[in-house]
Amino acid sequence: MLFNLLYNRLNLALYSLRNYKNNKARGILVRFIVMLIIPYWIFSTSRELFSAWHAVPGFNVMVIIHFIALLLTGIFILLIISGVPQALHFNFLAPDSILLSALPLESLVIKKYRFWEIYFSNSSVFFLFGLPVIAAALVVVKVSLPAVILLLAGLLLLLVIPTGIASLFSLLIARFLPVKRTKNFSSLIMGIMIIGLWAFMQFFRLSRLDPFSGEFDADLFNRLVQTPEMNLSRFLPPHWAARVLSGLVTDNLQQAMIPLVLLLLAAVVIYELTIRLADQIDKYAGYQTGGAVRAARQKPAEPGIPFAQVVQSRHVIRAMVERDLKLYFRDSRFVTQIFFYFSLFLVLPFLLREPFTAANETFAHYAPFTCMLFATIFMAGGLTARGIPLEKRAMNYNRLAPNTDSIYLLAKFGTGFLLTTAALFFGILILVVLEHSPAHIILQAVILLLFNTFGAAAIGLAIGVIHTNFNWDNPRQMLTDNGNIILNIAGMVYLGGGILAFVTGVKLSGTGLALIFFSIYTLVCCLLGIRLALLRVPKIEAAL
């Protein structure tokens, strides 16, 4: 029966792969790119690095093993953290729970099924990012096929452990905290961690570990060689997997088998412990003891912002903006997204400063602020475009209310503009503190970026209205497939036009005229975007 359930799950996954919304071909292409191209890119980059190490005279294979051990430890920790929201979802919130419990199945079978659902759902990070690196290592050190099979078995066993730990955590959390809120909170933590990792990876270059690169960092390389043998991390399961690899590449089968048996034992123990504990809790303590059953929230002492006595259009707009902000900030997925946008304002100026400065030295002072143009377009366009489907089908209430479409659009525009401006000033503040830019440049940058935000938000608004999708489960589905692509293209075209307007102004007279040209251009784009959105907003109902 467990096999049937898992087979059914596989079919569902394959079905969603084949029927990607309305546009099959592109949907499959996108998945193909994600599932094959990215791992291949990681594989080839890692192979280049390992080959470089291999070519160094006196090469020691342990460098690669240590690198793999560190990588596996990182993924292992990541999988435990990412596994908690997954486990909370599958164990307590999955919509098919009622259906499953109505089936004539032993509850232990359902628990096993849930475990494997979490396992496959949570392990995709490993298959996408970890496995290609290990495959590259195996290719470089030339491991035999039976050894590869043994290692793969060890890795699959290794993945059981973080799944089990995360599931156990989820069972513990569910007894004391509200499940849905905790899931959202842990998703948020996970999202912030991934963004932090992404930001770190923007500055950390693998070429620092390449002995043939000009950026080679010998200290870092030596630490990589020595560290794993020095610390307690060797008692962690990822290091057992690395020791399996170590045994296999050195043809020491005994050295490989001991950690493999350890992995097997740990996996079996944690698997059995998890499913039996889940089963017992389900039988004796109820399914959602701490989470779902809770008292009604107490009335807050302060009633909040009082009602306006005379309601004018500005009150309506403010109410809509407040509602949108609440919808954004009470959903961990959007908080993560907004956090990502904020991090763009921090990362991009430092990341792109060098190429910009290299291109034109007089441009050096402006370079960090110019990079923020990209960030404002991404953020303002993305937030306003997604602001339309944000309300899902509750958007009906805006259409039913006795207000003009312009009030509704102004509120959407306002929310996107407000959040982007907040991120913008945050980014500028950090830059000013770190770079000590001259005051006149900061002033010019602020004017330029604010006008840029106007235009980008309006373009996002128009695309959001035209390509909205109210039936979304994941924020990525908030715009239609075409909508996401058009939004990106329109953003780049808009930026190109802005740069052209600015450069024309500089060539004709100077920075002053350039700013005027740029402002006029962005305001024209802003008006056009809002006008287009106004024309299309009455047709939105058809989507409801």
Partner: protein, 252 residues
């Protein structure tokens, strides 16, 4: 109060509503029809959510198509399925609705409080809507519909998910509103509720209005003065029953 003239709507080649004509005064009007007959499409057009392909709709003497903002001031609509902002609390949601209908503060507070009392929601107003049951969401949707005291109230299957007490309260509330001169336009599949509450009934089938009048008028015009509304409904909508059930039971 509601005047629908020659209204039609097509989805591609499918005629969802075909030349619909209705004149509804200050009364309780029930709209009946089988699944897919065009009830919800008609209501969506009458509430301004869906533009008709042709025809005119007048709500409380305001043309919905040419003066939508004025017309919408006097209408309220509770859809069949309550789509609410899940991440807002019940109070935040109702406060938001009061603001977008430009309800002055004191009146809004008073009406929210009274309506929540009727539907027994006061205790849960500070909870997030995502934590509400289906019935509670339906109650919030009904309160949002009635909050601005609309002259014309559209209700699409309003009793689905409500407990018996809430259904009784809703019935009393709607009757009281009709007595105070408001128009209630309700779509339902529950013929007992329709018969017991309505002044007039409209039956739509395949996008066309096939009967309209008081229950007695419809009975008499169909030659079944003593017949039940169910029998007349099934006859008018050409719905065969019995044989399929019999065949199934025999097979089983």
């Amino acid at each position: 109060m509601i005047s629908v003239r020659n209204v039609s709507k097509r989805y591609g080649n499918f005629p969802a509503v075909n030349n619909l004509n209705l004149e509804i005064g200050r009364e309780f009007f029930v709209f009946l029809g089988p699944n897919g007959a065009g009830k919800t499409t008609s209501i969506k057009m009458m509430t301004g959510l869906l533009p008709p392909d042709s025809g005119t709709i007048v709500i409380n003497d305001c043309n919905l198509l040419t003066e939508p903002v004025r017309a919408k001031r006097s209408l309220g609509y509770a859809p069949e399925q309550a789509f609410l902002y899940e991440k807002l609390t019940g109070r935040e949601f109702l406060k938001f609705i009061a603001t977008i209908y430009r309800l002055p503060g004191a009146e809004a507070q008073k009406r929210i409080s009274r309506l929540c009392e009727i539907f027994e929601l006061n205790d849960r107003l500070y909870d997030y809507i995502e934590d509400y049951s289906h019935g509670m969401k339906q109650k919030v949707s009904l309160i949002a519909t009635l909050l601005h005291d609309p002259a014309v109230i559209f209700l699409d299957e309003p009793t689905v998910g409500l407990d018996p007490k809430a259904v009784k309260n809703l019935k009393e509330l709607l009757h009281g509103m009709v007595k105070k001169g408001k128009t209630v336009f309700m779509s339902t599949h529950i013929l007992e509720i329709a018969e017991s509450m309505c002044d007039r009934i409209g039956i739509i089938h395949q996008g066309s209005l096939v009967a309209c009048g008081a229950p007695e008028e419809i009975r008499n015009s169909n030659g079944q003065p003593a017949g039940s509304l169910e029998e007349i409904f099934l006859k008018l909508t050409h719905s065969e029953t019995g044989s399929q059930v019999e065949n199934f039971l025999q097979g089983a």
